[in-house]
Every structure is written in C-alpha cells, then in structure tokens.
C-alpha cells in the first residue's frame, strides 16, 4: 500500500497532526505527502466563536493546527460540563461523518487555525489514502482514552488530584505537538472553564489552584502555567502518561497493516 518513505524526526515535521501521530506511528515522507495533499482548505476562527451549536447540525470536520477548542454540554439548570479539550493535532467534529446532529457545543477558546473537510470529502480522501484511516482510527482511540481517564478523575479523584491530573495531561499533550518551554506554558483556559472541565465550582477551583501554588507545586495566573515541581504534580495526580498512547509502538510494517484494516 505504501512505498518506503524517508523517516523524519519530530523537529522537522510542520503540521501538528504529524507531530502527534509521530508519537505513536512511524511518520515518514509518504505520510507527510498525504497530509500535504489532504489539508488544503484552511480556515481561521476567532476566539469565542462557536463551531457547532448544541442541538445544532454538524457541518464539516476540522483538524486543528493551532488554538484550543472545547466541547461542552449546557444543561437546563444553567450548569455546564466541558467534555474534552481539543488541541493542535486533534480532530474535531469527527462525528459529522456519521451523525447529523450534535449533543454538544464546540467553541473556540482562542483564535484557531484548522483544516476543514466536508465529510464526504474526507471519505474520498480515506478511499485514496488508506493510511488516513489508520490515523483516524488511532485518533479515535486516543480521544476515547482521554474520556475514560476523565471519568476516573471525576468519579474517584479529589478536586486537587483532578486539577493536577488535567494539568499533567495538558503538559504531555502540548509536549508531543512540540511546544517548547514546558516550564512556562500558556493555557488559554479560564478558571471558570477549568471548573467546568473538572466538575467543581469556580470558587473551589480557585481555592485549589491557590493551594497548589502555596504548596510550591504549580503557579497558574493569567493563563500562564508554571510548574515548580513536576514530580510532585504527577504524584498528586496519580498521573500515568500511558493512556495518551504517545509511546511509539507502530513501525512502518504495522502502520501498513493497520492501514489495510481500518
């Protein structure tokens, strides 16, 4: 299916999706060429714009190149729960391939640049490039893992451990897409948003962040996260990075066989 492409290092990869995939697959020049071909229609979205309305119809599928997007449920009570956060390299609204209506709102936390695909167009592309379906299949599994881990957090971790855990997750996910300066990380998420990710009140969110700061674990002010003690942060979170599946297990042979599969 694939001819042998030249292997490349993370540093030379341009697109976020390729950096992310390279955490698991062996990304070579062939794969790069596929995404070059496919990612043609790029869009810019303004901060606070809504990609998909809750109870609205799905439109296109997006692949984020830069910026943060959240998927959330607004409840009748006025409460809100953020279900997941999409970072560069993540697909968004993949459900549009199958479903017509969304149960969640998709909105931009920052200015966002993304590649856009009409869902039938994405279908065609997968037909042309079977390796794409491997990428999609993995992206699905990756997202599923994160949801499962969030369920564990919400069900059985304290507010403080949840906070530590989600920070660990963001750090690891940003690392993989090549954000440098991990010690001073921009997290464009308000305390309000954090509370709605973690299922706690905004007041308690604030107190938890202040406590973590007081204890010398992290500092988070004005969207700037500084990690003072990463070991301690991970220990308090009970963080095991394995669920992010950024340990490369797929060589080109397996990639090819998965491509044939999915």
């Amino acid at each position: 299916m694939l001819t042998e492409g030249e292997h490349v290092g993370l540093a030379t990869l341009t697109r976020a999706i390729l950096k992310k995939l390279s955490g698991f697959f062996d990304v070579d020049t062939n794969i790069q060429a596929i995404f070059d071909d496919v990612c043609k229609s790029s869009v810019d979205l303004a901060a606070n714009s809504v990609l998909v309305e809750q109870s609205g119809d799905y439109g296109d599928v997006f692949l984020i190149e830069s910026g943060w997007v959240v998927r959330s449920r607004n409840m009748a009570s006025g409460a809100r729960q953020i279900v997941n956060v999409a970072l560069p390299g993540d697909f968004v609204a993949l459900n549009a391939l199958l479903f017509s209506q969304s149960d969640f709102e998709l909105s931009c936390k920052t200015d966002v640049t993304a590649y856009r695909f009409a869902s039938n167009e994405l279908g065609d592309a997968i037909g042309r490039y079977p390796a794409l379906s491997a990428a999609l299949f993995w992206a699905n599994a990756h997202e599923e893992s994160m949801l499962a881990e969030r369920i564990v957090s919400l069900g059985r971790r304290s507010a403080r451990a949840r906070t530590a855990h989600v920070l660990c997750e963001f750090i690891s996910r940003l690392e993989i897409v090549g954000v440098e300066d991990i010690e001073r990380l921009i997290i464009p998420i308000s305390q309000d948003d954090f509370a709605d990710i973690l299922g706690i009140s905004i007041v308690h969110m604030n107190k938890t962040l202040r406590a973590l700061e007081r204890d010398g674990v992290i500092s988070f002010r004005n969207a700037l996260l500084m990690v003072m003690n990463r070991d301690r942060l991970e220990a308090e979170a009970g963080f095991e990075a394995g669920y992010l599946h950024f340990t490369r297990r797929m060589d080109s042979r397996s990639w090819r066989s998965i491509s044939a599969v999915a």
Copy 2:
C-alpha cells in the same frame, strides 16, 4: 461494493450486534451474511472471570452476544471506577487492534458468550468486508458518546440524577438489542458496582436507590429493576436518548458510502 440485500425486521435478527446496528443502519441480508461468516469462533466466559488484567496485555477482541462485561480502573487508594459497561452487541477490547497494553481491567459480571477475534484476523475480515469497518466506526462513536454522557453525569448531575440516568441508559440499550419485558428488567450489577459506575459511595448508592423506590419511581432489588414511572425517571435524569444514536439515519446508500470510507 454491496449488492442489494433483502431488508429484514429487528425481530428476525439473531445476533445482538445486528439488532444493535439495525438501530442506526439499514441491516439487510448481506450484512447478516457477513457476520455469519465472521462470527465463527465463539467462547463462553464464566461470571467473575477477568478478560483483560489492568496493566496486562491485550489479547483478542470480543463481540458480546450475551452477558455483561465491565471495564474498570483499580486505583492505588483501593478505590475503583467503572468506566463503561458492555452489553450484548458491544465490542470489547477493540483497543487491542492498536495498543498492546491495557489501562483497565475487563471483567465479566455474568456468564458471557462472545465471538472472539485475533486482532490480525479482524483486520483481514475488514479487508474482505468494508461494511464491517462502518460497523466498527459506528461502534466507536457510540461508545464515545456514552463516555461523554457519563462525564456530564459525573461532573454535573446529583447522585440521584446520575442513578436515574444510567438506568435510563441501560433500559434503552437493552431495548435495542431486543430484551422484552422492559418493566421487569434483569440488571446483573450489584449496588457496589453501581456506586463505582456513578462515582459515589456504596452507602449513598443504597440510600439513593431506596429513596427512588420510596418515591415510586423505580424498584431495584436482587438484580431486578422495575420501573414504576418511566416518565418521571427520564425527567429526573434529564435523559435525552439521542446520544445513543439509535435513531436510524443510515439507509443502504449511506451505509455503502460509509463502508467505503472507514
């Protein structure tokens, strides 16, 4: 890709997976034939047996025909969180297609009969039958929706509403795979398990169930769920069945195009 098969009604479908798929896709005799061909290796698993150990290696992929399987995380503290519950018609350990190690334990709540696939074998089958990958793709999306909804529950619903919500979910999911007598439903899940699904203590689980009984909403004793007032149950849960995606939107044409896709 597919020749025109004869359409069939839910009642005549034998396999749980076909009943489940028929909730969304237009299942015809061709699709039936595919599963007849693929589901050859069937296994029986005893109640309480462990399919996959937490931190253990994945083995085969399973498709449940009868019985209940849960996926759970056992934490260092001794706490446990059940992430999802697999019912007849659900795939289990699909991650084995990509990942070698599991972050969760998979265990049988009842005696289980399931079809077993070596992961490479499943790959071959998908190569032969593109419609299979549509089924897998949808199964993934379906599971993802349930996880997202559980996150909403754990994050923003009270213990009582969570309880009502999972019960609504179980009822709907069992309905679709053809369980009759919805008023007197066997739910082979202990209060202990329920507590670990909902992220609450076993004591509070018990009190919540007793309160729902006292209020004439449901009765749940000895694994027998009786719904006294389904409207009220759904209202208290804030249950919107849409996320289960059991509203058929796929005719054979779309099925075929998705098959080409995924």
